[in-house]
């Protein structure tokens, strides 16, 4: 097995074994290839560093041997699209897609495929570090590696100081919760790079799970049009939380760029304090007029263009005034009851409710005390304006342990 750190700083020889210099770095093109091919070498001779094109390379075992001896000593300069393995990959961070985490590259594995040397994996084991720390002669005694296939890692373009076209397809294999964990753990600029590569829907789902401060910074850092599009895709409650952490002017500019309907939804939540019921509630609920039968209710549900998810109950409201709550029918009851039964006969009338100004905790307490999956939110004139589901309350209440304390590190 051939590893980068076993060939760097070692001699580079011509065809007849004469010394040309020492191997300083290896150039690869990270692009469409599954395994990036070596496109050249950086060879240093004293203080000069020059470029040797990849096709001149004959073998890399132990010493780098070139196929020809005549080397036109072209001084090395960095070019866009080219990544230096030692400078831009070794010791840098990558995303391990299958492991769903950030790893640091302790060595790079190379192998010839059809005559061209390619990067096939990275070693992330601590033993690789030990091998590099000790004298080279002892390196062979330290055994064991932990290699991740290059196909399973995502390279971060910001690691190299040149313009790169990196494909971020592999991120699609991660679910938004894992993506959020990675976005939180990376530095701001790297996390911005990741979010920029996601489609709006995935970006929205990811940002819903990312810590509030980081979301605010990310939204502020990106193009406003895109920020507004992402906010539209987020749940109104999450979007309101994100906007709340932004500068007032920026928040207003973003709201103005959003679709009026979505912006209005978000604004409703913004009217309430952080940690209040009004902020975490869901306004998406199904209203059934009080004269209906169970069959009517099911028909209404089926005719909906967008059905709330999770769907826990339907809310029976007055026919004349759809804001007045009469009672609720749990989904379970709705499915089991005879379709001809009037909903009024199967609904729970004596339902506890909360006010949008109440603290989120009190909604959680009521959910727990009454064994409910959702509790209706009534405003001061007793109109039904939303519900708080167990999901909403849980997300609010789970200790901040979940928000990584990276402030200091």
């Amino acid at each position: 097995m051939l590893f980068l750190t076993s060939i760097t700083d070692r001699p580079v020889e011509g065809q007849s074994g004469e010394r040309i210099g020492e191997l300083d770095d290896v150039i690869v093109r990270i692009g469409d290839d599954r395994y990036p091919p070596i496109s050249g070498l950086v060879v240093k001779d004293g203080r000069r560093r020059f470029f040797v094109p990849g096709h001149r390379l004959q073998s890399l075992n132990g010493v780098a041997r070139l196929a020809s001896s005549i080397v036109d000593l072209q001084p090395f300069t960095r070019r866009s699209g080219e990544v230096l393995l030692r400078r831009d990959v070794l010791d840098h961070q990558l995303i391990d897609i299958t492991g769903r985490r950030i790893v640091r590259v302790n060595d790079v594995q190379l192998t010839p495929v059809d005559g061209i040397y390619r990067v096939i994996g990275v070693d992330i084991s601590a033993r690789a570090l030990l091998r590099r720390l000790g004298p080279r002669s002892l390196a062979g005694r330290i055994v064991g590696r932990q290699i991740i296939d290059w196909q399973d890692v995502q390279y971060l373009a910001s690691a190299a100081p040149v313009q790169l076209k990196v494909s971020y397809d592999r991120l699609a294999d991660l679910n938004p919760v894992d993506l959020a964990r990675i976005v939180d753990a990376l530095s701001f600029r790297e996390s911005a790079e990741i979010v920029a590569a996601l489609d709006e829907e995935t970006a929205a789902e990811t940002l819903e799970e990312v810590s509030d401060e980081r979301v605010a910074d990310l939204l502020e850092g990106m193009d406003q049009e895109r920020a507004a599009d992402i906010l539209e895709e987020m749940t109104p409650a999450a979007a309101a939380d994100a906007l709340d952490d932004l500068d007032d002017d920026v928040a207003e500019q973003l709201l103005a760029r959003m679709e009026p309907e979505e912006a209005a939804d978000v604004q409703v939540h913004l009217e309430y304090d952080e940690d209040s019921v009004g902020r975490i509630m869901t306004r998406d609920l199904v209203r059934i007029p009080d004269g209906s039968t169970v069959g009517d209710a099911l028909a209404i549900l089926r005719s909906l263009e967008e059905v709330p998810d999770p769907l826990l109950a339907v809310y029976v409201t007055s026919l004349e005034e759809p804001e007045v709550l009469r009672g609720l029918v749990r989904l379970r009851t709705l499915i089991l009851a005879d379709p001809a039964t009037p909903v009024a006969d199967v609904m729970d009338e004596d339902v506890p409710h909360v006010s949008p100004e109440d603290r989120a905790e009190s909604a959680a307490r009521i959910l727990a005390e009454y064994n409910l999956l959702a509790v209706p939110v009534l405003d001061e004139s007793h109109r039904l304006i939303g519900i708080v589901t167990v999901d909403d309350a849980l997300a609010e209440l789970l200790p901040e342990i979940w928000q990584r304390r990276r402030n200091f590190a």
Binding site: G221, I401, A409
Partner: protein, 410 residues
């Protein structure tokens, strides 16, 4: 929306201010009080120069964070070779471990001023800190500790009430005098070590990175760094003035926390000890909560271990092990019977000062790397100043080591 509503400069106040005030922790107070008690106003000039140095070093750290978007240990790992990285990380680890020990000693000293045995207080503090950090509800506790440290502002009042001879104070502030005497040099290095602590640079840089400060917004951060440095410098000067005016004339050197507290008598009377103990407790717990976590993150990020306080022991054994180990180590060493607390505190900062050159030269190389910093490398004059600082600190450290060795063979 509070976060950015204010005038951007005002809003940027924070990390720099906090980091610089964190310099006035248990070890800082011990060092400043010792300096004032033993040498009167004789080290005031040094405090002024050291404050300028802190400003320069903190500024470079913040600029690195803003331009590269990366923390210090990240940059070290990515820009230095592995052996150099190991050396730099090792010195940072030793320096930080020393400070963690000093914070638990601070807890011990504060507890004993209240008449509580350190064998009860320190283990309790260690468990408390560990739970806070791993349960992740540190935020509001941090604020309480921060408020407690305001007790040290009493030194400003104490300095005025002690009626020092102000013309002498001023003259000593602007007149540098260097004695090549072991004790003096020792305190000078400690003064440098406690004021330019590596962990403060780590903190400033990482918070700049965390906030996503861009090079364009960097001027606000620089303002924060300057304000923080100057504020902390002024408080430190007043601690020296207060102890110089009250303790020095009576030939009292600071051997225990109670000695340092006596300088507060002009302002707090019989409550001097209690006031001092509160401040010390707050400062010590504040840093004891932050440092083990910061050190663990520094190592884990550079070495690529799975990390995060939300991870379990199974998921992140090295992270949790290091974090716990640092806290336990700090607490255990602080409990060694018969440990001369104040001397150990000063000793820790001498060690910090001795290790400082490694970090300073690392910063200098990174900040002047054009591939990394682009046009934001140091300007020629500023660079000369920064190099000057690094060289002078190294020479002083070297002088101290030579004197130590000479001392051994005598």
């Amino acid at each position: 929306m509070l976060r950015k509503r204010f005038w951007p400069y005002l809003a940027a106040l924070g990390p720099g201010l906090l980091a610089a005030s964190a310099g006035n922790d248990a070890g800082g107070i011990a060092t400043y009080a010792s300096a004032g008690a033993s040498y009167g106003y004789g080290l005031l000039w040094a405090m002024v120069i050291v404050t300028v140095c802190v400003g320069v070093v903190q500024e470079m750290a913040a600029r690195m964070g803003a331009v590269t978007g990366k923390g210090f240990s990240d940059l070290v790992r990515e820009s230095f070779n592995l052996r150099q990285t190991a050396l730099i990380l090792l010195t940072l680890l030793i320096a930080n471990t020393g400070i963690i020990i000093s914070e638990f000693i601070g807890v011990a000293a504060a507890a004993e001023l209240f008449g509580v045995s350190r064998y009860i207080a320190v283990p309790l503090a260690a468990i408390f800190v560990w739970l806070l950090v791993t349960r992740g509800s540190y935020g509001w506790v941090e604020r309480i500790f921060l408020v407690l440290t305001l007790a040290f502002l009493a030194y400003v009042g104490a300095a005025f009430l002690a009626r020092p001879d102000w013309p002498t104070v001023l003259a000593e502030t602007v007149r540098p005098r260097l004695h090549f005497e072991y004790g003096y040099l020792n305190l000078l290095i400690a003064l440098i070590g406690t004021t330019i602590s590596p962990y403060m640079q780590l903190y400033v840089q990482s918070s700049v990175v965390e906030k996503g400060v861009t090079p364009d917004e960097y001027r606000y951060t620089r303002f924060d760094v300057i304000v923080g440095t100057v504020t902390a410098g002024i408080v430190a000067c007043f601690i020296i003035i207060a102890t110089a005016a009250t303790l020095h004339p009576h030939g009292i050197s600071v051997k225990t926390a109670a000695d340092a507290a006596r300088a507060l008598e002009p302002v707090a009377g019989k409550y001097a000890e209690a006031l001092f103990a509160l401040g010390l407790l707050g400062a010590s717990l504040l840093a004891a909560g932050v440092l083990p976590l910061a050190t663990t993150y520094m190592l884990s990020e550079a070495l690529g271990f799975e990390r995060g306080v939300s991870r379990s022991w199974d998921e992140a054994p090295i992270f949790m092990g290091t974090l716990t180990g640092l806290i336990v180590l700090g607490a255990v060493i602080a409990l060694i019977p018969g440990l001369p607390l104040i001397q150990v505190l000063v000793g820790v900062y001498v060690l910090n000062g001795l290790l400082l050159p490694v970090e300073l030269f690392a910063i200098l190389r990174l900040i002047n790397d054009r591939e990394l910093m682009g046009k934001h490398v140091n300007g020629p004059l500023y660079n000369a100043l920064a190099w000057g600082i690094a060289i002078v600190v190294s020479l002083l450290s070297l002088a101290l080591i030579v004197m130590m060795v000479v001392d051994w063979f005598r």
